[in-house]
């Protein structure tokens, strides 16, 4: 291993679907108490269309990154890991389809991981460690967090906070987006049933158990980080934070908890939150929870909103139900700002078409079975084809034939 080399995220892109519903409209349609918008702090949430699934989301997130690579650079991707809690088959991975439609090398190692909303961070850390080990000089890795939403009215206030989409991370030795601090991490996990997807068609959640576990794990993974890294202070060490964001209000509570545990006065909390955390919450408040991609959506938001011009350390926290968590860190700078801005993530989010509540509930019915294995199925693109215009070429799911999922570029 070259001790002076840096490894981390070379490129980051977000695909958050083609449709969104304003959260106040969803509240009104469901008869939810509008006073709770204050704590939820969500503006919009992405909504899936019938021709979108975990494969199309992943490919549509990664393709702009792949398109910027030379053929040699693309073939240097020797590792593809998809992270999803929206699996399509008990054996065949999402990665196998993604590998095909991104045109990656047949010498690329590929597989899928599952650990709820933590999976992509585990994959990123293993990819960084693998590349830093020096066993594959010049290699790159592609980590893609991809999911779809299944929640409906039964999920109560979780429904307006659940997102749809994917985040793609190109990982390598030119970490212009985030240079991961090698060896600087803290982990914490234990068995609990706070939320889960026991069948391909619905989610379960114990809200208090999940929120309390998120907060316990943040404190404990940060404590583990401080055991591995000298002279760490929650405020001074990290000028910015990007946290897994199930909904914005929880991140606000998490920040308050950590500030209390760091011995900061109550009066200092609000200004610190707006300075160090708020930039990371702008996109999550427009998308909803992207599962294991959530913390990287927060990182993209941070870079696009705060536009750091100097070399700056970011503290990142990933939590996945079940549960597993990690607090880790990396360094961003003006190049990070430039690379993420070039992806046009904010413009992509703004281009999503708003749907009304009636359309939203119709879409829920039409997309409810997207993960259910069916031998033969045809997906009719025409009713929603106008959502594809004038977007860049996008992969769409057209159906299944003998359980083989079919896709086309539109």
């Amino acid at each position: 291993m070259n001790a002076s080399a840096a490894y981390g995220i070379e490129q980051l892109n977000v695909y958050a679907g083609l449709a969104q519903i304003p959260v106040p409209a969803l509240f009104a349609g469901r008869g939810l108490d509008p006073q709770r918008l204050d704590n939820l702090r969500m503006r919009n949430r992405s909504v899936g269309l019938p021709f979108e699934d975990p494969v199309t989301n992943a490919v549509n997130a990664a393709r702009p990154i792949i398109d910027r690579l030379t053929p040699e650079e693309r073939d240097a991707i020797e590792l593809l890991i998809t992270s999803t809690e929206s699996g399509l088959d008990l054996s065949k991975s999402v990665a196998s389809y993604v590998h095909e439609y991104l045109g990656l090398s047949r010498n690329c190692r590929m597989f899928e991981v599952k650990q709820a909303c933590y999976g992509a961070t585990g994959a990123l850390q293993l990819a960084v460690g693998y590349l830093a080990s020096g066993v594959a000089p010049g290699a790159k890795a592609l980590v893609i967090a991809t999911d779809v939403a299944l929640v409906d009215a039964r999920a109560g206030y979780a429904e307006p906070a659940t997102g749809h989409g994917a985040v793609a991370l190109l990982v390598g030795a030119d970490p212009g987006v985030l240079a991961v601090d090698l060896g600087a991490y803290g982990t914490y996990g234990y068995e609990t049933l706070d939320s889960a997807r026991p069948t391909p068609e619905f989610d379960i959640a114990d809200v208090d158990r999940s929120l309390f576990a998120y907060l316990d794990c943040l404190s404990n993974s940060f404590r583990d980080y401080t055991c591995r890294v000298a002279d760490v202070d929650f405020v001074r060490t990290f000028p910015y934070l990007a946290l897994h964001t199930p909904f914005v209000g929880l991140v606000r509570a998490a920040h308050r908890k950590m500030m209390r545990e760091a011995g900061r006065s109550t009066g200092a909390v609000e200004a610190d939150f707006h300075r160090r955390v708020w930039p990371s919450l702008v996109y999550p408040a427009q998308v909803g929870n992207l599962c294991s991609g959530s913390v990287y959506l927060a990182l993209a938001s941070l870079l696009d909103q705060a536009t750091p011009a100097e070399s700056t350390r970011v503290g990142l926290y990933s939590y996945g139900s079940g549960c597993a968590s990690e607090f880790f860190s990396g360094v961003v700078d003006a190049e990070s700002t430039r690379r993420v801005a070039a992806m046009g993530i904010g413009a992509h989010l703004a281009r999503r078409r708003a749907v009304d509540f009636d359309t939203y509930t119709r879409l829920l019915e039409e997309t409810r079975h997207v993960l259910r294995p069916e031998a033969d199925r045809r997906v009719d693109i025409d009713p929603y084809a106008d959502f594809l215009q004038p977007q860049r070429p996008l992969l769409v799911h057209t159906g299944t034939k003998q359980f083989h999922r079919r896709y086309e570029w539109c």
Partner: protein, 90 residues
């Protein structure tokens, strides 16, 4: 702040006061031991805040997950009373 070694009645008063702070619209007479914060209109962030505030004010060394399955405010008082009885600095 609470007395150095609050008895159960004082802890009931503290819990009612904290719930009242987090839910200012709820009449204090409705904040009784047989109620769950959810029944009083507390959303998930409010419930987090109630537990966090009690942990902070009583300086409890206890994970939040211990508060998962409490059926009502009386059970919450019993849980924190057991800490105080064991000598947690209060």
């Amino acid at each position: 702040m609470t007395a150095p070694n609050p008895d159960r009645a004082q802890l009931v008063g503290l819990v009612r006061a904290v719930v009242g702070e987090i839910l200012p619209g709820v009449p204090r007479t409705e904040i009784t031991e047989d109620r769950h914060p959810r029944e009083l209109g507390a959303d998930s962030v409010d419930r987090v805040e109630i537990v966090l505030t009690l942990i902070e004010r009583l300086n409890l060394d206890r994970p939040m997950s211990d508060f998962n399955d409490l059926p009502n405010l009386g059970a919450l008082v019993d849980l924190i009373a057991s800490d105080v009885a064991k000598g947690s600095p209060a």
